[in-house]
Symmetry: D4
Subunit: 173 residues, 8 copies
């Protein structure tokens, strides 16, 4: 059986600036990605057709991103039993709180796993974690990724220590 | 042409305690009502089929009520060019704020006219106002209704004046 | 009988940058528009006079936009049985949440159909939907508009696919 | 010149349970009170008539209370140059936040002095403070009232000290 | 007796950019103004001394402005029976909501009349309204001011009508 | 390889009244469940030990529920690359908004899939969806479950239709 | 030098139902407690006198609790350099959010350490932690307390495991 | 015994722009500071190791700063009985409200003293206040610091008075 792929569906192409890091992250893990711009409100049939065939098209997880009254993740979840990851996008004057509540507060029966506002990278990592439940190689990559993140924190900490030491001797600020 | 009717769609039968006043109000104005329980997430096809045929079935306005991540009004609006009135229902621990934002913050292109949280009666009156744009009889009924509301305020005011007078002479409290 | 027109009332001329798209959208549908700057607080008589005569002046729907403690739509609705569409304008430090609640939470008896914060275009489309209840030509225009919106989404999707393909081969970022 | 009176206007007679303490407090200070139930939306003319004649009817301050999209205080303020005190009433599922913003966020030009949610007693005290600017007797009453409040705090504190002492010797809980 | 003056107290000199319009507005009405920078937290004695002597120093109304945990208006009100007008200043990342609640939600017994966030001009107008309760000349100025505001709205409306007419004939945008 | 199990971790045994439906739902799908009461703050070692060994103990997905400053899901996610599902519990005076933000707003690198406030059943369904990515039998059960939900909606709709018909003929209320 | 004591100041005796657990917790650690009911607004002098003499009266930490526009902790902090712990009390219709912001958002210069809404027990524990910085015996008590809390979690977990086992064999619900 | 030091832990080096004033303030009081960049989620072991040894390493107080779902202060507090001061950092589109609730709403048993959003300077002052409970010299410095703050307010007030005097005579603006 072919490796499962991940789909990224956005309500608007303007969400791409937020969501492109999700595609990049998935590809960094060697996961194939399908990207679809389709609006729950303006092109409901386009959403329906894609999602309805998703499992047959070898998709294992769907990431859906939307702002404002962000119905897309919930609408996608209504059409499939694949796990749907929702990304609330900060697209209005309310800082993304409207999108967060529109995605997180799904009624009983149709779950959507909600990420942070604009949390595109975590959506990708979460999809990888799902695929890694039964994939030891992918799990090993995730463990390595965690280790690299920890190393990066330590490197940044070291740089900050150096900067602080310079400031205290040289007296900047 | 037959008189246009109004449809009331609810995401859950538990919304009926809130929404039944809408049906009653519409019938008080002599407007025929169709009621449908259908969930945007649990029965999307049921929503789609009803809404798709709504105009052909002589429906002029659709009232859609839902709580939590209240996608139903927006999903209904995506399938029809009939005006959709959304009623956010207070169904979670957030007092209906989640439903209000999920309905009011519709993205550009697909409008939903949002009522107050639990504002079922106003949804009915608003539907009547729409039908009355081209219906002088209905408009006359609305004007009469307004007058009765004003009279009722005055009667309540009179009762309160009497109560206050009694309290001040009799010395209750 | 002459075609019904739509009135746009704003609390301040500073709302025009938000609201002008409503006039343009209405005119694109061939709907005549009357625009009034009038404040519920600074010029209540001006509001009253216009709204009181609105039905006689062949107006079928009133769009009212205001920010902050946005009383204008509710005040307009108190003077007429025409359907009133409220547009909350983001005019303070609270991102329009004050205006949204001031408009959406209308008490029972006097409905206002609330749009999204700054949702001027949807206000126009919603007005057209109301006028189209009994106007097949207008309804046909709306259906066409929906189709064009869907086409536009697909074109943007195609452009994004092309951009992504270029990035992956050319290696930008 | 006769002593100035204070008017209390409520949007609904259901606000009376909250507002009656305002009348009582004013009367305790010897201030005459006029009470009016009148809705900004259901009976705008009733509001207008009363407020328009308020100064001539010897009213010095107007207290206006309303819940939900609480337009009444702002609408009253639009009709008079008398100082208007707004009391947001907790009347919906939002705990009075809708009323607070609808009253406090008045646009520039027409001020309303906003009290706490359900803050009827403070509205009365604030009206007395306004009347006391030029009334030494009333000011003396206010100073006395403050002293009594402070005494009451000390009495309650003494009672609590006694209760705590009993608990620690007697060992309750 | 000398004309009552109005004091403006600010928690920080950085509030002056918001509050200076209050002084200007008061002077436009011929009201004398005293301005004090004094912090409820950093200089409580300075606040206490000024407020304690305010009535003796011929002050009739105190405007107090503060941001963040805006205690200044409440602390001022605790020291005086003069009416205190609170202006919540948008000084943090929360858009002034913290200051609004810190000022508006005063407990029973010590009222503060709260203006909109950054509502410095309305604070001045509200103070003038209080002073005008017993001052017919000041009331006449207020009525004139209202009329000028209404005229200004009409002039702006006329300019917008002209602009729109040009756009439609000239075809800009 | 043995079937993957799902762990449910709660910050407090008082969360069980909310979370027990999750265990029941998982068992209805034939999924084995491990339940752990362990607090991120009171028993961090207990959390760490369980989560660190989770993958070795054949766990495929972890559901973590907590209220207030709900750190448990994020702390669990920090210790494992298994997908973590967070359930914000309504446990304070803020209606669960504190828990929702504490769980949903996870920083980049460590994802948590957030459910609705008190969304225990959806957490279970979401875990099943993850396990069903590579399990056709489980997927078939999910599809059946969806069908049963849709049937239930239709049955409730039929009951409501009957109730409404009775009310209109019998004339209750 | 005598052991430092902890003062608990409340704005109202009605806060005692929330705060009494703080006194009990402190006494359980052998810390002497002074309790004062004093309002920042109704009895500012009473607050000032107590706080001004606090350090001389051997007080090491002050816990201040208040609801609504909760100024007490900030006002206390303005009068002393002792560390002040603020407890926001849920005393209005806003669930304590007003008190939380009024206490937490203190401006630069005068810190208050804010606890959770109604977080009286944590206030006591936090005071003990402060006193334990230089007191090894108190630190040992805290470590023991932590261990007992962890044990309690494990006992509750065991009880829940037993309950679940019974339910699954006996089949309740 | 050596003087107690203060540790500053940040979840990300990007918090340094906010937190560096804390280190500077502590050093101005002659308090030694240890700075650590360590994430509760990305480097939990790094946090654990540092905090576990903090008391042995002569640390008396820990300041922990984090944004978004700000778990760091609570996680630090779970590992130590030293008092932990939490600084919510404004790091997302929600203005720091997510971080504030994630830190302030700690459950019973593990206290964190929460500062204002971005309140790094107050965190340092609060730590000094804790250390000054048993350190008269440090207390004297704090009293002096308070006096200098008060002087600074008076100087700013004087400058503003001068500026206003110039504006009124010279007529700027």
């Amino acid at each position: 059986m072919a490796k499962k792929q991940v789909a990224i569906i956005m309500g608007s192409d303007s969400d791409w600036s937020i969501m492109q890091v999700a595609e990049k992250t998935l590809r960094d893990f060697g996961v194939e990605v399908q990207v679809l711009v389709a609006s729950a409100h303006r092109t409901p049939a386009r959403v329906h057709d894609f999602v309805n065939n998703a499992r047959d098209n070898n998709i294992g997880v769907i990431i859906a991103a939307a702002g404002a009254a962000a119905h897309l993740p919930g609408v996608v979840a209504a059409y499939t039993t694949l796990p749907v990851i929702g990304v609330p996008v900060d697209a209005t004057t309310l800082g993304g709180m409207d999108a967060l509540l529109s995605i997180a507060q799904m009624p009983s029966g149709i779950p959507v796993g909600t990420m942070a506002i604009n949390g595109a990278k975590n959506a990708a990592l979460y999809a990888v974690e799902m695929l890694a439940i039964h994939d030891e190689l992918l799990e090993a990559q995730l463990s390595l990724y965690r280790k690299e993140m920890a190393d990066e924190v330590e490197q940044k900490a070291a740089r900050l220590d150096k900067l602080r030491a310079e400031q205290q001797t040289g007296g900047v600020q």
